[in-house]
C-alpha cells in the first residue's frame, strides 16, 4: 500500500469471531478480519461461502449471532443499515433492483438517501433536486437521463445509479458486491478509476467479485471465505492461489474443443433495430456458439428481442431454416424452436413460490399433459433426469427455487430450454452472479449440447466471451458491426475493437442511451 494514509496502524474496522447461523446452516463461522483505510480488500468465495452474510452484517442489515465488531477502536453493534451508514459504512448489494425505487425518477433515485433523512425538507424542490442530482452525476462522469423514470433504464444503467448513490454518501468503508456484473469492459474501467480515486482519499473498499481480472486490477490483498470460514489471506501477487483456496482445488485450464459450424439455421438480413440505426446481417449455424459482445447500451439485448418476438424490427427479414419467418410473440417464437433465457434471472425467469420442478417444466408443460391434465409422474421423471444432466445440486425437485444457490438457479433457468428441441438458443448474460466453477459447468453444458441447434450468447465480459465462443460478433449502436472467428483472436484485439474505432474515445463518459430506452 503506497498511499500515505494507509500508514495508520489502527484498522478502520476490526471484526472478531463473527458467527451467524440460519436454521441448520452455519453461514459464518468465527470470522475475524481487519480492514485499513485506503486499501481495496477483495473478498472471494464460491456461491454460498458466506460472503453475502458477512456483507449484510457489516452493513447492518443483519445482526451476527456472536462476535464483535470494532470501528475506529470502538465496539459497535449496528441495528440497521441506517446506523451503519451514519458511521460511514455503505454497501452496494448484488441485487441491483434492491437499490432502486421504481416509480421515482433517476434523479430522485440518486438522492434517495438524502430524501429519506429525517431532517430533509418537507417540500420537494424539483429544480434543486435536479441540480443536486446533476452535480452528483457530473462528479462521477455519468450521463444519465435524470428526469426519466428509473424503469426506463436497463440493468447496467441502474447499476451505475446505485453505485453513484452509494458514492454520494461519502463512505469511509464502501462494500461493493459484484459491481461489474452488469457492466462491460469500458464501464468497468471507469468504475475502477473511481475506486482508485476513493482509495487515494483514504476510503477502505471491500470488493466482492468472481472476475479475476477485476481483482488483479484493484485488490491490495484478498480474503477467501470457504464454507463460512476464513480460508486464507493472499497478497496482490497471489490471486490465483486465492482462487484455488476459494474452490478448494485448482481449476483445470479451460480450452474448449472448437466446434464446426453446420447448416445455417437463422439468417437476419438488412435488419434495423431502429429506423435510424445501421442495417446489419446475422447468420447462425448449427453446432456453433456465437457470442454477441458489446458495450453497455450497445443494443445486444435488443437484437435478441427481435429474434424472440419481444420487439418489432424497423426493417429487415428473418429466415428460420431457410423459410421466411416472423416471431411475433415469445409464444410463437418458442413454438418455432427459438428459445431465450433473459438477462435478469429474478425478474424475468423466476416465479415466486414456484418449485424447481415447476420452474423447469414451465415452457414445455404441454409435453407432460394429457387432456389438459398434468401427468405428475412423467413430469417428475423428466425433471429428475434433467436435474442430473444439468448437475444441479438440490435436496429435492419440489423445493422452492429460493433454496438453491445462485449458480444452481441459473442452471435450472438455462437448462430448462434444453428440454425442448430448439433450433436457436439465445442466452442473455448467462454467467451473471455465478461463481467460476458453475460458469465452467454451464459453459461445458452449453457446448456439449450445441449439436443440432444454433447458440447465441450475449456477453459483455471479454474473458467470458473468449472462453465460450466459436465466433464473436461485435455490437455497436444497435447493429452488428464486425465479426471475429475465435481461433486467432487475441484478447487485446477484442478489447481494442470494443473500446475503439467508431466510438468517440475510450475516455468518453459513460453514456446511458436514454433515447432508445425511453422510446422502448
Amino acid at each position: 500500500m503506497s498511499a500515505p494514509v494507509a500508514v495508520a496502524p489502527e484498522p478502520l474496522i476490526r471484526v472478531r469471531e463473527l458467527s451467524k447461523t440460519f436454521g441448520a446452516n452455519r453461514a459464518l463461522d468465527r470470522v475475524s478480519l481487519d480492514i485499513f483505510p485506503g486499501e481495496v480488500v477483495a473478498l472471494l468465495g464460491a456461491n454460498g461461502a458466506g460472503k453475502s452474510t458477512l456483507v449484510k452484517i457489516l452493513a447492518g442489515s443483519q445482526a451476527a449471532d456472536t462476535g464483535e465488531l470494532w470501528l475506529d477502536g470502538q465496539p459497535r453493534r449496528f441495528s440497521s443499515p441506517l446506523s451503519a451508514r451514519r458511521l460511514g459504512i455503505v454497501a452496494v448489494h448484488q441485487q441491483v433492483n434492491d437499490g432502486i425505487a421504481p416509480g421515482l425518477s433517476v434523479a430522485e433515485n440518486l438522492l434517495l438517501d438524502e430524501l429519506c433523512q429525517p431532517g430533509a425538507d418537507f417540500w420537494l424542490n424539483r429544480r434543486r433536486l435536479l441540480e443536486r442530482a446533476a452535480s452528483i452525476a457530473a462528479g462521477l462522469g455519468l450521463e444519465l437521463p435524470l428526469e426519466h423514470p428509473i424503469e426506463h433504464l436497463g440493468q447496467a444503467e441502474r447499476q451505475l445509479v446505485v453505485l453513484a448513490r452509494a458514492l454520494a454518501l461519502q463512505p469511509r468503508l464502501l462494500i461493493l458486491d459484484e459491481p461489474t456484473a452488469a457492466l462491460s469492459d469500458v464501464e468497468a474501467q471507469r468504475l475502477f478509476g473511481l475506486i482508485d480515486t476513493l482509495r487515494g482519499r483514504g476510503v477502505a473498499i471491500l470488493y466482492i467479485s468472481h472476475r479475476l481480472s477485476d481483482l488483479q486490477r484493484l485488490a491490495d490483498r484478498a480474503l477467501v471465505l470457504r464454507d463460512g470460514q476464513l480460508a486464507g489471506e493472499f497478497g496482490a501477487g497471489h490471486l490465483s492461489a486465492a482462487v484455488e483456496a476459494m474452490l478448494g482445488q485448482a481449476l483445470d485450464t479451460h480450452v474448449y474443443q472448437p466446434r464446426a459450424a453446420g447448416r445455417e439455421v437463422l439468417a437476419l438480413r438488412a435488419a434495423q433495430v431502429w429506423p435510424h440505426s445501421q442495417a446489419f446481417d446475422l447468420h447462425l449455424h448449427e453446432g456453433e456458439v456465437v457470442v454477441l459482445c458489446g458495450l453497455l447500451g450497445a443494443g445486444k439485448t435488443e437484437i435478441a428481442e427481435l429474434l424472440f418476438g419481444l420487439r418489432e424490427a424497423a426493417a429487415g427479414t428473418v429466415q428460420l431454416d431457410a423459410v421466411d419467418w416472423q416471431p411475433g410473440s415469445p409464444r410463437r417464437a418458442i413454438a418455432s424452436g427459438v428459445y431465450y433465457a433473459a438477462e435478469d434471472r429474478a425478474s424475468q425467469s423466476l416465479i415466486a413460490d414456484f418449485s424447481l420442478r415447476r420452474t423447469l417444466t414451465l415452457p414445455f408443460l404441454e409435453r407432460f399433459t394429457r387432456a389438459g391434465f398434468i401427468r405428475n409422474r412423467a413430469e417428475a421423471a423428466a425433471v429428475q433426469a434433467q436435474v442430473a444432466a444439468l448437475g444441479v445440486k438440490t435436496a429435492g425437485i419440489d423445493l422452492p427455487m429460493s433454496a438453491l444457490s445462485g449458480g444452481n438457479q441459473q442452471k435450472v433457468v438455462l437448462g430448462r430450454w434444453l428440454l425442448g428441441q430448439g433450433r436457436v438458443l439465445i442466452l442473455d448474460e448467462p454467467f451473471q452472479g455465478v461463481d467460476v466453477r458453475a460458469r465452467r459447468e454451464i459453459g461445458q453444458l452449453l457446448r456439449d449440447s450445441a449439436d443440432g441447434r444454433a447458440t447465441l450468447v450475449i456477453c459483455a465480459d471479454v474473458d467470458e466471451a473468449l472462453e465460450i465462443a466459436d465466433r464473436i460478433l461485435l455490437v455497436r449502436d444497435h447493429a452488428v458491426v464486425a465479426q471475429y472467428p475465435r481461433a486467432d483472436l487475441a484478447r487485446a484485439t477484442l478489447v481494442a475493437a470494443l473500446a475503439g474505432a467508431g466510438a468517440p474515445s475510450t475516455v468518453a463518459p459513460i453514456a446511458a442511451p436514454s433515447r432508445s430506452r425511453a422510446s422502448a
Binding site: G23, I334, I351, D353, F354, R358, L362, L365
Partner: protein, 341 residues
C-alpha cells in the same frame, strides 16, 4: 433471530415444529375446535338439518369466492363479483316475471350477462392496462347502476306494477325455484350440490391442469410467464370471465332461493367472498389463493355465524367475528411464516 444458535445441530426443537404445524394446520384446528365447542354448547348444532343449513348458507358466498380465487391466481382481483351476482339475480327475475319467459332463457341470459361483464373487466385490465382493482371497482358501480334502470330501481316480485302501469304477468317457474330450494333425497340442498361440484372442478383446474399451473405462473411473475411462452393476456381474460360466470351462477341460486328480484341482495356478497378467499391463503400453509382453502375459509365463517346465532349472540357481532377470523388467518399465513424463516 438470536435464538437460532440453539437450532444448529439436532432436529428442529419442539417450538419450531409447533410453529410449522400451526402455520399448516392452524385454521383446520380452529374449524375443528369451533365445531367441537358448538356441539357441546348446543346439541342441536350437530343435527343433520342444521349442518346442511350451514352449507346452504355458505354455498353462494363460496361460489363467488371460488371465482375471485381464480382471478387472484393470475395476480388480479375482481371486486365486481357481488354486483354481477346481483345483476344476474335481477336479469333472471326480469326475464321470468316481466317478460314471462321460462327458466332456461332466464339462466342463459343471466350467465351471458355475467360473461359480458367478465369480458369488459378483462378487456379493461388486459388491453387498456387499467389496474385490476380500479377496473373492477369501476365495473362494480356500473353494474350496480345498470341493473336498477329497467325496473326504475324497484325490486321485482310476481304481480308487481311495472313503470308503465301494467301488472307483471310472468312468474318464477317451479323448475327455476328448485335450483335454490330443492333438496336431493330430501336432505342435500341443490345449491350445496352445485357449489361442491364447482369447487371440485376449480380445485382440479388449478392444481392438476396445465392452464391452472400457468395461471399461478402468471400470478407469480407475469413477465417470466410471458417469456416462458404463456399466453398471458388470454389467460387473464379467461380468469375474469370465469370469475364473472361463477358470480352469475351465485346470483341465480340466490334468485331461486328468494323467489324475487331483490335489488339490495347480492351487493354485500363481495366482502364475504373476498374474506373467504383470503382466509384460504392460510389453509395448509398455502400462502396463495387455492380452491380448498377458499372452501374452508367460507365454511369457517359460516359455521361460526351459525353457531353464534344458535347461542343467541347478537346479530351485530357478526361482522366483528368475521373480521376476527380474517385477521387471525392472515396472522397465521404471513406473520408466523415470516418468523419461521
Amino acid at each position: 433471530m438470536p435464538d437460532s444458535r440453539s437450532r444448529v445441530l439436532s432436529a428442529p426443537p419442539v417450538t419450531e415444529r409447533l410453529l410449522q404445524a400451526a402455520i399448516r394446520y392452524g385454521l383446520l384446528w380452529l374449524l375443528a375446535l369451533i365445531l367441537l365447542f358448538f356441539s357441546v354448547a348446543e346439541p342441536a348444532f350437530l343435527r343433520v338439518g342444521n349442518l346442511f343449513s350451514i352449507l346452504q348458507s355458505v354455498s353462494i358466498v363460496a361460489l363467488l369466492a371460488l371465482g375471485v380465487t381464480l382471478t387472484m391466481a393470475v395476480g388480479g382481483l375482481d371486486l365486481s363479483i357481488g354486483a354481477v351476482a346481483a345483476m344476474s339475480l335481477m336479469i333472471a327475475s326480469y326475464v321470468m316475471v316481466v317478460l314471462g319467459w321460462g327458466a332456461l332463457p332466464a339462466v342463459l341470459i343471466s350467465l351471458a350477462g355475467g360473461a359480458l361483464v367478465g369480458l369488459l373487466n378483462g378487456w379493461l385490465i388486459v388491453k387498456l392496462r387499467v389496474p385490476d382493482i380500479l377496473a373492477t371497482l369501476g365495473s362494480m358501480f356500473l353494474v350496480i347502476g345498470v341493473q336498477l334502470i329497467p325496473t326504475g330501481g324497484r325490486s321485482i316480485a310476481v304481480g308487481m306494477t311495472l313503470p308503465n302501469g301494467d301488472e307483471a304477468e310472468g312468474s318464477f317457474s317451479a323448475l327455476f325455484l328448485a335450483l335454490g330450494r330443492g333438496r336431493l333425497w330430501d336432505t342435500v340442498p341443490v345449491p350445496v350440490l352445485i357449489t361442491a361440484l364447482v369447487a371440485l372442478v376449480v380445485w382440479l383446474f388449478l392444481e392438476r391442469t396445465r392452464i391452472g399451473r400457468l395461471f399461478y405462473a402468471i400470478g407469480g411473475n407475469e413477465q417470466a410467464a410471458r417469456l416462458a411462452g404463456a399466453p398471458v393476456q388470454r389467460f387473464k381474460l379467461l380468469a375474469y370471465v370465469l370469475s364473472a360466470l361463477l358470480a352469475s351462477l351465485g346470483g341465480l341460486l340466490l334468485a331461486a332461493r328468494l323467489g324475487r328480484g331483490d335489488v339490495s341482495s347480492g351487493n354485500g356478497l363481495v366482502l364475504d367472498a373476498l374474506g373467504a378467499a383470503l382466509i384460504g391463503f392460510a389453509v395448509l400453509g398455502a400462502r396463495k389463493p387455492n380452491a380448498f382453502g377458499t372452501l374452508v375459509g367460507a365454511l369457517l365463517v359460516a359455521t361460526l355465524l351459525n353457531g353464534l346465532t344458535m347461542l343467541n349472540a347478537p346479530y351485530y357481532a357478526q361482522d366483528f367475528v368475521k373480521g376476527l377470523v380474517l385477521v387471525l388467518a392472515l396472522m397465521f399465513t404471513f406473520g408466523l411464516a415470516h418468523r419461521a424463516r
